[in-house]
Every structure is written in structure tokens, then in C-alpha cells.
Amino acid sequence: MSLDPFKQSEPLTLGVELELQLVSLSDFDLTASSPDLLYLLGLKEFPGEVTPEITESMIEICTGVHTEHSGLLLQLQQIRDALVQAGDTLNVGVCGGGTHPFQSWSEQKIFSKQRFKQVSALYGYLAKQFTIFGQHVHVGCTSGDDALFLLHSLSRYVPQFIALAASSPFVQGRDTLFNSARLNSVFAFPLSGRAPFILSWDEFENDYFAKMEHTGIVKSMKDFYWDIRPKPEFGTIELRVCDTPLTVERAAALACYLQALCSYLLERRESSPTEDDYLVYNYNRFQACRFGLDGTLVHPKTYETLSLREDILTTLRKVDTHAEKLGGLAALEYLYRSVHLGSDAHYLRSQYADTGSSEGVVDAAIRRFRTGSEDGP
């Protein structure tokens, strides 16, 4: 099976996927409830798409294709409300967060579907450790070449998205000291990391992908766990580094920030991406995972040291005319505020300090998802 031709799609259109946690409201541990929840959701019209994920304590929701912030946010809120309502009927809490703070991976059940079983057989404990929850944002591109140009131009901004979305400080009951511990689990997979530096779709398809397919290592784009990957059948690139935020409001804001940033990059006023940009890539990514907004970056072109927080604020200012044109100013304001208030990881740590238990952290995450309020319950 060769690669699909890159489908042309409306530039800068958006689609969001969120992997969400299913938690028992009795003991706040993950609960294998996706079959029950999907049954109940199936009885009514659902304002989006909902699908099972690899473990039964996880579901994935997808929005339709959107052009601006208000529409995307509205749909995400409708999806959230439908999920919360169904969850209440089943004593299941639905929440964001990149990891569950105290679940033990050996307890997770693999959803019985052929592909999931194969993945589980291949990756062993990695598959279960993969009980992690991410946000994926699709951005429409007019051509494969545009997609690859955006993919590599965005690499310099990947740490910003990691830090803004970071919501996974706890793993198996311990504070990891990371803001996004989730990404450490992703990096364990052999085909994770960055895409190869190729800017022409023709070359990517006929040279790189064809060769990889010939090696027998991959069968489709799905086998790559890259931070950003092209999705030819949708005509999009997909940013995959974000933890699922605690609220759909933040998820919508992140998506629209990406949209404005892509619009800015497509003006091609910044110097073109080069292979050498990736010299600092893993280091910067680590800084963002470990320290979040307090991290420091090395600029890929100038090698100067930057505060990640400052870098975000600068970029927000740089893209705000684009956001205005795209109807996404509210998203930028949201992120501007949250850069000052702190990330979701910061909030979860504060909840641990207040309640003194991992269960208290999950409870706070459930309430925050439900209300969407950043002021905290």
C-alpha cells in the first residue's frame, strides 16, 4: 500500500482530536468504561465524533473542520457537555490531563480490536505505558509541499506548544518533576521524534516513504509517532506534542494559536527551515517537557538563549494580526493570560499540595474539565 496522494484542503482550516481519561467517580482510578460509555452515547446524536482508544479507560473525540475560534470552541463545549452528562449516568468522570496521576499501567485493559491487539503484542509494556492522553491539531494545507514547509518551520515552535499544554506532572503516584511526563512515554517508541528533513512532497512520497515501506518497518503514516506528521488523506499536518489540556477552552485556544502561527509562517518572512534547525531540537523539547513555561531555549538560528515564557509572549504579539483576520484573537488572549497564571501542570501540583492526595488531583481535574473555569474550583 503506497502513500495516498496529498489531498488538497482549504488552507488554515482546523480540526481537533482529544484523548480523554475515563475515571471512576468512586475511587478516581481509571476505569475500563469506554464500551459502556460508547453504548450510551450511541443512543443519542453526538455533536462530533467519538471513538475507542487502545485501552478501555480512554476515548478519543474529534471535531469537524473549522475555520475560526468561536465555532471550534462551541463544538468542543457541546461535545464536553454530552460526555459529562453520559459520564454522570455511569458514575464515570471524564477529564483531560496528559497522564493519570496514579494509575498503574499493568492494570489497563487493551480494547479488543485487531489493530490494538497487534500493537500490544509488538510493543509489550510500552503499549500499556501508552495510557497517556494527547491533543492532536490538524491544520489544512493546499499542497504536500506547503505541508512539509509548515511542518519544518513549526519545529522551532514545538517547545511552546509542549509548555502551554503541559498537564502531566504525575506518573504512577509520583511527581516526576516534569511538566509533561507524557512525552517521555512517546519517545520510547522507535518511530517517534521528528520527521526527516525533506521539503518536497514528491521526494517524501517516492523516496523516503517508499523506501521505509520497502524495509517492511512501516505500512502507513500511522506507524510514525512523529511530533508533527503530514496526513495526506486529510490534506493536513498534525501537531501531536500537546498533552490533553484540562479544559476544552485551552484546547481550542492552542489550536487557534497554531492556526495563526501557520498563517504567519506561510507569509515566508522568517528564514527558511534547514536541517541544522534540528541540532537544538531535542534539547529545547526536553526543556519544555521538564520545566514547562520556566524552561530556556536555544534559538536554532542565532544560538542565543531565550526564556520560553518570553518567547511565547513575543510570538503571540507577532501573530496577532493573523489571529485577528482569522477570528482567533480570543484564543490568543486566553493563552496570554495563562502564560501568567501558569500551566495545567502547575495547577495540578497546587491541587496535590492542597488536598494531599493523588485522588484529590483527579477530582480537581474532573471538576475543571466540567466547568472549563480557569479560576479553579
Partner: protein, 394 residues
Amino acid sequence: MQEFALLASDLAWPFAIAVAWLAGEFGHRVTGLPRISIYGLIGFLFANLQGGILPVVDNNIMLLANVAFGLILFEFGYRINLHWLRTNPWIAVTGLLESVVTFIVVYFVAQAFGASMITCLLLSSLSMATSPAGVLRVINEQRSSGQVTERILHLCALNCVLSVFAFKVVVGLWLFQSSGSLWQAASSSLIQLFASAAVGALFGMMVPGILRWLGSLARDATVAFALAVILLVTLTHILNLSPVLAALTFGLMARHRRVSLSQAQRNFGALGDLLTVLLFVVATSTLEWDSVVKGAGLGLALVGARLLTKTLCVTATSQLSGITWRKGALAGLGLAPVSVFVILMVEQTRYLGLILVDELTALAAMILVLEVLGPILTQYALVWAKESQHTIEG
């Protein structure tokens, strides 16, 4: 020779428990049946083979069994979310429906067998309850999660509370009939119920408070809760209150004040496992072969009627409460276990001079059948609902 007899009698309990554990491990591995079913069987065999190898259950052993049950009930209370009954009222309706209908059906079945009214009432009230120890041990053993699991837990909690309540009212009624003293009747029923719940609630507020004050919740919670349960059970035992209700309230209260046992401490770890063996061996060792045989007819009829009623009632409301017919039926089936709870309830009334086991031979037969069969049915309900770990990966 007499010394040897004394020695043998001292050894009997530890020996029986060790054999039960060994049989449980071995039997579980070979047949896949729940360990507690096997413990119960061994307890009954040891007590009844050749006129009984085990000495009579004394007060100390009974207290230990109560502590074991208290630990299970505390954890059980911990897994109940009372708020769910408000967000999905159909759970409460189902619980009420299946308990009340079970009461009525059992009453008429017992009456058809010619039992006296008070016997009918006692049988009815006790048949309402599902054994929390039975379902929780099976759920933990299967590491199951999903709607059938969740509903078995919540419906079990509801029918236990209703059963304790009904049982105490019936006992009060009986006392009033025989003694004519309203005070004695009320104090041994309703007042006792409220006092038990109040003591449990007090513990539920104090212990998390102390733990929070100490600061190191994650590390110390298990030992602290275990000690508190032991203290609570002993206290209620001495005060002739209901340890069952007190421990359950304690767990509920502690949970809603959100201090939690972590995954590794489920079942109270090794301590819980040890006491569970003792609990199930002791429970069935109180049953006598003669009673079982004498009450077999009515006992088996009650088992059938109870199982059918519970399954039908829970199935009836399944669609309304948000699950499939199939899962509803399986949740109803999973409510089968009865044993330990009823035995301890009945034992508790001995101090009143009511030797109910002798009255209720049918109960002995029902307990024995469901002691072994109940957990197996719960296990199959979870497996058929694809909620147990073993079904997917086994």
C-alpha cells in the same frame, strides 16, 4: 492422650486456615473458581467431618472474623459514590426495587413451605442482602471494572443497608411480641442502628483529620485505617452495636472526605488476605450438616427465587439507567453471594438470647449453597460482561 486432644484442639483453627488457604490457591489455579468459595467449602467440611474437627467458634474468633469483615466493609464503603444516586436516580430505584421485591417474594415462598410468620420475615429481611465480602473479593480478584462491576457494588451497598434495617425492625418486632417491652424492642433495633452509624461516621471524620494533621497520607493511610477499623469493630462489639453498619459508614465517610487507599493497598494487602481466609472458614464452620439437610428444600427454593427476583428486577430498569439489557441481567446475577454478611448478622443477635440459626434451618442451606455458588456466579457475570482482566488477556 488427653494432652494430645487439647493440643489438637489448639491446633485445629490454624490448621484449618492453612489448609483452606492452600486449597484456595491450588483450586483457583486449577479450576479458576474464586478462592473464597473454596475457603467456605473447607470451613464447612472441617466443622462437620467426623462430628467436627474444629472447636466451637468462641467469642475471640468471632471478634477476629468481625474485624476481617470490618476491613472489607470499610474498603467497600470506600468504593461507593453516594453522589451517583443523585445524578442517576435509577440506581437508587433499582436498589430499592430489587430489595423490596426480594423481601416480598422470599416471604411468600417461605410461607408456602409452611414457615411461621416471624421466620418468614427474618428470612425475607436477610435474603435482601448481597454479601459485600463476596462481591468485593471477587471483583478485586478479577480486577474488573465497568458498569456491571460498578452496579454490583452500589446495589450491594443499598441492599445491605436496607437488609440491616429490615432485619433490625423484624428483630425488634419479635422482641416486642415476646417481651412486650417497647423500650427493649426499640433499643435493640432502631437506636442500635443509628448509634452504629454515628460511631462509624465519627471515625470517618476523625481518622482522615488525624492523617491530614500528620501530613504523610500516602505512606501511612493503610495502617492507620486498619487500626481504626480494628478499634471500631471491637468497640461496637463490646457496646453491642452493629460492626457491619459502623465499618460501612466509616468507609463511606472517609471516602467522601477523600483520603484514599492507593492501588497497592487494595484488600488491605497481606493483612486483608490473611483475615479473609479466616473469615470465610469461620463463617461456614458455624453451619451444621443436620440443619443444612433439614432446611434443604426451602433453602434451595429460596436460592432460586432470590436469584431470579434480583436478576429480573435489575434487568427491568437497565435500559432506563443507561446500560444494555444484557449488562443489567449480569449485574443482577452478580448480586448472588449471601453468606458472611448474614452469618455475622445472625451471630450478632445471639446475645439477645435469640438463637436464630436453629430456627432458620433453611438459612443454613441457603448460605451453604450461595457461599460456594454465589461468588462463582459473580465471577461469571463479570467475565461474561467482559469486565474482568482475565477475559482479555488470559
